[in-house]
């Protein structure tokens, strides 16, 4: 019997977030529970499992039918490449490999202190990838270009839960 099954049992229904690089499980967890629709979800967090692909990985299992779209986008920002699986009757119903979105709407704060989005209340920030690798993004307002890892994430906005 594998170490994984011993520590976190299979779930009948819910969401499994797998292949999280070790150390990023906690930030992903914080992004999930910051959303009002996921704040009280029952969940299990596993840290530092051995992984052939990653060396070590984290794992999250959630008792929820689907994750809100903005939470999925946050997860993709924190750790592109993680796998999100929807489990129904102990089987994998759907599986996604999360990619950084091409368009980041209200997901990150503009780093330019003189950008209008940092002064005028109620404006959504918008960043668009400027290359296929999606490592550099351009602010649609002030037109500054930043590397994705330079941008500070905004907390997940409230929204209805949507299926992916």
């Amino acid at each position: 019997m594998s170490e994984k099954v011993l520590l976190i049992p299979k779930i009948e229904n819910g969401i499994v977030i797998d292949h999280i690089p070790a150390g990023l499980g906690a930030p992903i967890l914080r992004a999930i529970v910051a959303h009002p629709d996921a704040r009280h979800v029952v969940l299990t967090l596993g840290l530092n499992y051995k992984s052939n692909k990653l060396g070590h990985k984290d794992l999250i299992k959630l008792d929820i039918d689907d994750l809100p779209a903005s939470v999925l986008e946050q997860i993709a920002l924190i750790a592109p490449g993680v796998t999100v699986k929807r489990i129904v009757d102990f089987d994998v119903d759907k599986k996604y490999v999360m990619q950084t979105p091409e368009l980041l709407v209200n997901l990150v704060k503009c780093r330019n202190p003189n950008c209008v989005t940092n002064h005028e209340a109620g404006i959504a920030t918008e960043y668009r990838a400027i290359n296929q690798r999606r490592v550099q993004y351009k602010c649609s307002h002030c037109e500054r270009i930043f590397f994705l890892n330079e941008l500070e994430r905004l907390a997940a906005a409230a929204e209805s839960v949507v299926s992916r």
Binding site: V116, T117, E120, I123, S140, H141, E143, I145
Partner: protein
């Protein structure tokens, strides 16, 4: 062309050429004919920052097309001082005008204005970001002087870090892939990295130097900007560089005969007054071109074709 003119990056090279062609057409029209074209239209102007040429040339452009102007050139007498948001100020002026012009110290302010306004919005400068109408008149001036834009060698001199006219024009010239650009500035005032990244992404080579004399000798046009004293933390540094980037009639003796000096103005000491009477002075012609280019922009956004 889209509903608004916010950034030179929103335009294709065909659209830029279309505006340059329309400017030439407008310039050739008799004044009596021009003054009928926008009769009954109102231009709303919102200047949250000081301006001489941009505001006056927009007002002159609209008046000479037969339209009228409402708005403000400083915020002291408006509800902005009461804390009214930018979006609400835009929505208010939108009710009184057919087209709007905005200058604002925040980068992206014009983009926000365009997103809340139903009437066309023209960016007259947003922080250190874009100044597309200046860029278009600069391009028009270059084309008038040289008959082309592609293939030119253009030097930018002075404050390349904070000058939005430089940022906009560098953006635009990148679209004409075969323009060779030379950047001449003190180390503290070099072109921002994000523009250099954009140039690299487009495969455009920017030559950086501190040798103004070489740039004067080799380029077709030298685009001067003012070195702003207030940008220097150490005034000794300012004193060191301020005279290194000054053009005099003597310094222009080695320039090619056709070379033109441009400047978005106002100038202080970076172009000596003895340059004004040389064949190289192009900056007052540049100011004159601002009116026809802005007329072409107003006509285009209001859907009026001559």
């Amino acid at each position: 062309m889209t509903k608004d003119l916010i950034s030179i990056n929103d335009l294709t090279t065909d659209e830029i050429h279309g505006l340059l062609d329309l400017s030439a057409k407008v310039e050739a029209m008799p004044l009596a004919e021009r003054v009928q074209m926008l009769r009954g239209n109102v231009l709303g102007v919102m200047f949250f920052e000081p301006s001489t040429r941009t505001r006056l040339s927009f007002e002159a452009a609209m008046a000479r097309l037969g339209g009228s102007v409402v708005g403000f050139s400083e915020t002291g007498s408006t509800s902005v001082v009461k804390g009214e948001s930018l979006a609400d100020t835009v929505r208010t002026l939108e009710c009184y005008s057919d087209v709007m012009v905005i200058r604002h110290p925040w980068e992206g302010a014009a983009r926000l204005a365009a997103s809340v306004s139903k009437v066309p919005v023209i960016n007259a400068g947003d922080g250190s970001n874009q100044h597309p109408t200046q860029t278009l008149l600069d391009l028009y001036t270059l084309r008038k002087f040289f008959g082309k834009i592609g293939g030119l060698k253009v030097a930018f001199v002075g404050d390349l870090k904070y000058g939005r006219t430089v940022h906009s024009l560098v953006h635009a010239l990148m679209m004409f892939g075969d323009v060779q650009m030379t950047l001449v500035s003190p180390e503290a005032l070099q072109l921002p990295d994000y523009l250099k990244i954009e140039a690299a992404n487009r495969g455009v080579v920017l030559n950086e130097t501190t040798d103004l004399a070489e740039a004067v000798r080799s380029c077709d046009a030298v685009y001067m900007t003012r070195i702003q004293k207030e940008r220097f933390a150490d005034l000794v540094e300012y004193e060191k560089v301020k005279n290194s980037f000054c053009l005099t009639a003597k310094a222009l003796e080695e320039a090619q005969e056709h070379m033109k000096v441009l400047h978005p103005l106002p100038r202080v000491t970076e172009i000596a007054s003895d340059v004004d009477s040389t064949r190289h002075a192009g900056y007052f012609e540049q100011v004159r071109n601002g009116v026809v280019m802005r007329q072409a922009i107003l006509l285009t956004l209001l859907g009026v074709r001559p």
